[in-house]
Symmetry: C2
Subunit: 331 residues, 2 copies
């Protein structure tokens, strides 16, 4: 019977069909498994991506918050800057330095004048303020030597500043030196003029030398051909200390140029500028061809005080003043 | 034969197996199709997510660039602010305003003094600067009426400021009024003292009234019990104009209080303060219990000029000055 069945045609057909279906099924199952795996992989991928998306969205939200915060901060800062820095230009890293030399001496209004000047200078970028106070010892000995002679103001202080500049900045090529008294008045525009000086710059000064404006007279081609000074007009440079600035390298390369107790009154500027080897033709007219006044030779009035107060001020002994007076005088 | 085949058991088994496999196959195929569809959907989803991720990453990069830019900008601004606003505090939106009243009159150093003062005031937040220039017409007529009488400085200008304040700010409850001359010197710390005034504040003034410091004398419990003034010490308020500030509402609610040409010299402050209904006990001692000097009564020296210059300055005719002189004088 067994052999009979295997030999029957229908059995063979049956087996063939079964085999075909089985193969098909196996193939299907394997594809299904593959697809299932693929599906799981893809689902995992989707999950990863979704997680990633959520993280990114959170990051974005954080960053947007950051930006909002920074924007607000920037606006605040800009308001701050606009409201209170409107007078000054922005920081200029590559701009030459200004060495602003202020000789100063003790007097009732000294603290007031220096306070006021500091508020002006705090508007100026790239400015190095060199304040040289009259040392009691030095000036006392000098005044003792000279006794009742006329003692010009600020000679020792300005020379001390020159010595400092020559020691500290001997290699500097750019930058300008300006001698600015502590009670003069400076327009902020002056500092751009000082900064642009190549060798020596000159400009008008207001209310000085008995004139409303003391200024150089320019020739038609724009060079300095004279001065309008009425006081000692025969000086080589009949100008005020506030009228000029010189390049730092000119100062450091002429180590002999200085101020002196041995020159006639009004000749300090001429003595210093000729010592730097400068002539009138070296002067660069600034301040819109010397047509604008950016510095005024203002003087703070001598305080009206009692003889006893003046005696105490001359002694300059902290013990003789109460705390409020000491605060007022900067002692 | 046909019927025979269909009735055979093996044929039935054969059909049953074939049916089973066919069903299985159909099911498999349908699952496969489903899975294929799912796969395509998932792949599309993955693509969408990937695209989304790329967009988000790009967004993030942009935002990070933004943040970097803002950070850099903020740093620059902060450097700017630190370098040059170090003297002033940050903007204080809710802080009371200071109404800083400056009477001014034409003179050689007027432009210089106002320039210098503007640089100080530009450091102060929440300050409204009211500059009242002596009108030629008014003061001429007044001086004609009074002829050779002593004419106190700034009366008309200060009253004009009071009228303006009373018209413009009648409803204001917070804010302080201060009368600040154009050649006085102000420490920036003064402005915080002015701002903190509730009714009327008082503080020492440097170099005024023949004293190094003119100041109120405080009792042990910190109230004002007297003054150290040596010039006309019997005045109700023997103090300088720079020594006090009053709340704006006190000014607007006492419309009669003003300065006057009819009071004796040195009595302007007393006339105004009593007009506001104030007594010594109303004064709030400021500036660290009146132990610090934040304002100096500096005076800019009268310019030394020729008679002809003074004649031109008195005429104040723009035509009589050249362009540089006019720029110097602010004409």
């Amino acid at each position: 019977m067994g052999t009979l069945v295997f030999d029957r045609w229908w059995f063979r057909a049956f087996v063939a069909v079964a085999m075909f279906f089985a193969c098909q099924l196996c193939f299907m199952i394997s594809r299904l498994q593959n697809l299932d795996e693929e599906k799981i992989t893809l689902q995992a991928e989707v999950q990863t991506l979704e997680r990633k998306r959520d993280t990114l969205l959170m990051d974005l939200a954080n960053k947007e918050r950051d930006i909002l915060r920074l924007d607000r901060k920037e606006q605040q800062l800009e308001v701050l800057v606009r409201d209170r820095l409107s007078l000054a230009s922005t920081t200029r890293k590559d701009d030459p330095m200004i060495y602003f030399v202020t000789p100063t001496a003790f007097r009732p209004a000294q603290k007031a004048d220096l306070t006021r000047l500091s508020y002006t200078l705090s508007h100026v970028p790239n400015l190095h303020w060199i304040v040289i106070e009259d040392s009691d010892v030095t000036s006392k000995s000098i005044s003792e030597i000279l006794q009742s002679w006329y003692l010009p103001r600020g000679v020792a202080q300005r020379n001390a500043a020159l010595a400092w500049l020559r020691t500290q900045l001997s290699d500097l090529k750019r930058g300008a030196v300006y001698f600015g008294d502590d009670d003069n008045t400076y327009d902020l525009k002056l500092f751009d003029e000082i900064r642009s000086v190549k060798v020596a710059g000159i400009w008008p000064v207001g209310i000085v030398g008995g004139l409303i404006v003391e200024k150089p007279i320019l020739s038609e081609n724009g060079t300095v051909e004279g001065f309008n000074a009425i006081w000692k007009p025969d000086r080589p440079f009949p100008i005020d200390m506030a009228a000029f600035a010189v390049n730092i390298s000119v100062v450091t390369s002429h180590r002999g140029a200085a101020f002196s107790y041995d020159v006639a009154r009004g000749y300090q500027e001429s003595h210093f500028l000729t010592g730097l080897g400068l002539t009138r033709s070296d002067l660069e007219p600034k301040a819109d061809n010397c047509t604008k006044v950016y510095v005024w030779h203002t003087r703070t009035e001598q305080s009206k005080l009692s003889k006893d107060d003046w005696r105490r001020l001359t002694a300059k002994d902290r013990e003789q003043f109460d705390d409020v007076e000491a605060h007022c005088l900067g002692l």
